[in-house]
Amino acid sequence: MSESPWEIVIGLEVHVQLRTRTKVFASAPWGFGEEPNEQVDPVVLGLPGTLPVVNRVAVEQAILFGLVVEATIPERCAWDRKNYFYPDNPKNYQLTQKDFPVTLGGQVEIELPGPSRNVMGEHKMIRLHHAHLEEDVGKLSHSGSGSLVDYNRAGVPLLEIVTEPDLRSAAEAAAFLNALVTMLTQAGVADCDMEKGQLRCDANVSVRRRGDTQLGTRTETKNLNSISGVRDCIQYEAARQIRELEEGRKITQETRGWNAVNARGYVLRDKEDAHDYRYFPDPDIPTLKIARATVERLQKLVPERPFHRQRRYMEKLGLPYTVTSVLIADKALADWFEAAAAAYPQNPSGIANWVANDLLRDLSAATSAPDAFSEPSVAKVSLVDCRIKPAQLAGLVKITDEGVISKQQAKEVFAEMFRTGQDAGEIVNAKGLRQNSDAGELEKIIQEVIADPAVAKSIAEYRAGNEKAINALKGPIMKRTQGKANPAMIDQLLRKHLG
């Protein structure tokens, strides 16, 4: 495949609703599903005489995000007014941070899709320019000749995360958003539920000939509200720009919209119509001094970064890539795994397999269908309700490893543990599942099996040096012990008898 002569350059501005109980500058509550205009107080409505008061938790969530992405937390941050008239904007200015944002710089590690699902893809660091704390606007809906405004969403805290133009493809943009969502949710900063509009994205796209060092003229597409929308829009827009340039036309710097229904972009306004936002420092909110003690306190809440965790699992615990990518996608699941592995450090791989396969499968089946908008195959599972506790799974793996029960029996025990929350040992005792380790009885069965002419060929092969041929004898032995035999002991006795 020959490389395209064009390079795509993408920068994203991501708006995330922070997880707080009240609005960013008003104590009115917010949350999904309320009746229109029920989450509105005099401040949210911008009634004359009202004033903003900054929500401490919103600031702390923003700082915590900054620490998660290794950003600089400046000594001071301040708010500005962005002036523009729109019916969903109660004051006709938006409180935002232009010159002194709450975080500066930072980076997000992304993983590009690998050659196959089982193989790790290329990793890349995407630099952030900054993140700032601002307020959301109300919601417009249209009916006939009119529009209706609901201000419930007005004033909801938004963190606007702005990247450097470091992304080079639609796939990278999608990978970035996935990584960002993972970090935001794992830190408890935001829920990122795109169905509820909790994450929205503006995409700045330009193209240039490979090797050029100057950036091309960019366009900004506003208000993309799903990761697939971002991917489709970037593909569309890059293709459009390349076509324009190849046909000898110029790209105009413009603001665009995206129609997700017909998967087409359209022009909202060109540079001539660009807003003059008349930014100035908000005189109602003093400059905020961020104490270093606050930063240190929040630093302790920063969870291990997902890819760091993945490398640790692979390198220190010897887990395979596929299992680690399932675990790290869900912080609660990974934490659960680590608790189990700590209770039985001898076999982290065995525990990881149970968690990533059996536990996750049974939890998903027990929970409702996974969220249609969460694009990576991260099932929304509730470990809180899980009856099995980490130490109990560790116990199951331990008795399996010790040969107390067979792997086959362990599956049965696991199912019972998942249902009842009992310890593995209790179930094994109650069901009489203890694996047969009586050497005398086993030796008798083995002698009978060896004598069977049906296996003579396998025995000959084994004796001729084919190690694997011995396995053909194990099935019949297991069958005659009804699965209760200890596989290690079978192996040992077989070898003794076959000399």
Partner: protein, 485 residues
């Protein structure tokens, strides 16, 4: 005796209520009679619910009977400038834009007054959105100076000053962005204080220019002014620029013979009327005779104050007044078919000429390509003005000037010349830019019209300013002169 109830000071009323020789209801009824007879001449009030104020007075008398009096303000009427929110009452800002708005909430100062038992007594006329120095910019009605009904009362708190001078009410709230309490106080012969920025919560004060606006007390005497100030100045978590408990310790008063008073060099030479200058000199001589030290001070950037003020104030105003668009409340044009048209027409119909002029000016000084030359430079000039004032106030306790260069002008005289009108505020503006407390005290007459002097002090020096002027007031009892109504 009862026919003179309208001249009593709040302090005297409090004594009589306490002694049981007067009830709040009797007081309010006397004041209502005066209101009915004379408000149509003066035009101070734009709204007053007689049944509501009588009910409040009765409730106060009932509390007193049960020994549950809330404070020394209990039962005493306070009239409210129409840009301070009172739940269930109009909040018009004397604008067509908000002519029909009933406030669904109380300002912090209103909550504080209610907690003190004061009677929330009617709404006072003002320049539209507090923009003006004559109260002629009201879209609702005209207000006249009780000392000469052909003249303006000053502004923008013209209704507040006129109501006090007319004996409608003993106490009133005003707001001051560039002199809007002190200038009408001077023109109407009453006391007006603009507190240190941050001392009184702005929650519920309709914003004109947020970094300059302060609510302040207005009264007919220094004691009354201080009584009202004490009731208003308390922490409020709803205004982030309002001081919290630990930041609001007022500086102690200074004895008059220890006082150092600064006079800006050459202050009386340019543009100050002869009689205003004479009254100011007399006040300076008085303080000197009392043993105060009079010092000349330099404030080299004084000539920057007015342009700096108009850049900062209009910039903030253009943004603060953007919310009046006919969408959520207030006037909505019936002519519009698109949201842009609706907002544009609602604003064009709802705002008066001075408001439009300032919105346009403020929009310009913030606009792309001009903000650095105007708005950003004005912020730098503001810093310079502040540091010069703080440096001067290291050497002296307070700075004394006239409040206004000339006495109240005739209605209609200056309204056509905005620039000349802006110069009315030349002495009062620096205190707003620097966030300093400032007080206007009646000090004499220019012909038949009152004039005041103006004191500016260091942050939180309100008690110093009040104590110094109390000494003056004691030997210059102008308040006992009644406006000839």
């Amino acid at each position: 005796m009862s026919d003179a109830l309208h001249l009593l000071s709040a302090t005297e009323i409090a004594q009589r209520l306490h002694a049981g020789t007067l009830t709040s209801r009797a007081l309010v009824e006397a004041l209502l009679i005066r209101y009915r007879n004379l408000n149509s001449k003066v035009g101070a009030f734009t709204y007053l619910s007689e049944s509501d104020v009588i009910a409040q007075a009765e409730a106060s008398d009932e509390r007193r009977k049960q020994g549950k009096t809330l404070s020394s303000l209990d039962g005493i009427p306070v009239a409210i400038k129409d840009n301070i929110a009172v739940k269930g009452q109009p909040l018009t800002c004397s604008s067509k834009m908000l002519a029909k708005l009933i406030s669904p909430y109380d300002a912090h100062v209103i909550e504080a007054l209610r907690a003190a038992g004061a009677i929330i007594y009617g709404r006072l006329n003002m320049d539209e959105f507090a923009m003006g120095s004559s109260t002629e910019n009201s879209a609702l009605q005209k207000t006249y100076n009780p000392w000469d009904l052909a003249r303006i009362p000053g502004g923008s708190s013209g209704g507040s000053a006129a109501a006090l001078a007319a004996g409608f009410v003993p106490l009133a709230l005003g707001s001051d962005t560039g002199g809007s309490i002190r200038q009408p106080a001077s023109h109407c012969g009453v006391v007006g204080l603009k507190p240190t920025y941050g001392l009184i919560s702005r929650y519920g004060l309709v914003a004109f220019a947020s970094s300059l606006d302060q609510i302040g007390p207005m009264a007919r005497s220094i004691d009354d002014c201080e009584l009202l100030l004490n009731a208003l100045a308390s922490p409020d978590a709803r205004d982030m620029t309002c001081f919290d408990q630990g930041q609001r310790t007022l500086l102690p008063p200074v004895a008059v013979n220890q006082l150092r008073i600064g006079i800006p060099r050459g202050i009386l030479d340019k543009g100050v009327g002869q009689e205003v200058a004479a009254a100011t000199r007399a006040a300076i001589d008085f303080y000197r005779a009392q043993g105060a030290t009079i010092v000349e001070v330099d404030l080299p950037s004084s000539d920057l104050a007015v342009p700096t003020y108009y850049v900062v104030a209009t910039a903030e105003a253009s943004s603060n007044l953007a919310r009046y668009d006919g969408v959520r409340y207030g006037h909505r044009s019936s002519q519009a078919t698109t949201p842009v048209e609706m907002m544009t027409l609602s604003r064009s119909e709802g705002f008066g000429p001075e408001v439009k002029r300032r919105i346009l000016l403020g929009t310009f000084v913030l606009s792309a390509g001009y903000a650095d030359a105007y708005y950003v430079r004005a912020l730098r000039a503001r810093s310079k003005i502040l540091s010069e004032h703080l440096a001067a106030l290291e050497k002296v306790d307070m700075i004394l000037t006239p409040t206004v260069p000339t006495p109240a002008f005739k209605a209609g005289e200056k309204i056509s010349d905005p620039l000349q009108l802006y110069l009315e505020d030349i002495f009062t503006i620096p205190a707003n830019l620097a966030g300093l407390p400032a007080l206007s005290v009646p000090c004499g007459k220019s012909q038949h019209l009152p004039v005041g002097f103006h004191l500016v002090g260091a942050p939180l020096s309100e008690k110093k300013l009040l104590a110094a002027s109390r000494v003056f007031e004691a030997s210059h009892p102008y308040r006992h002169q009644q406006a000839p109504l």
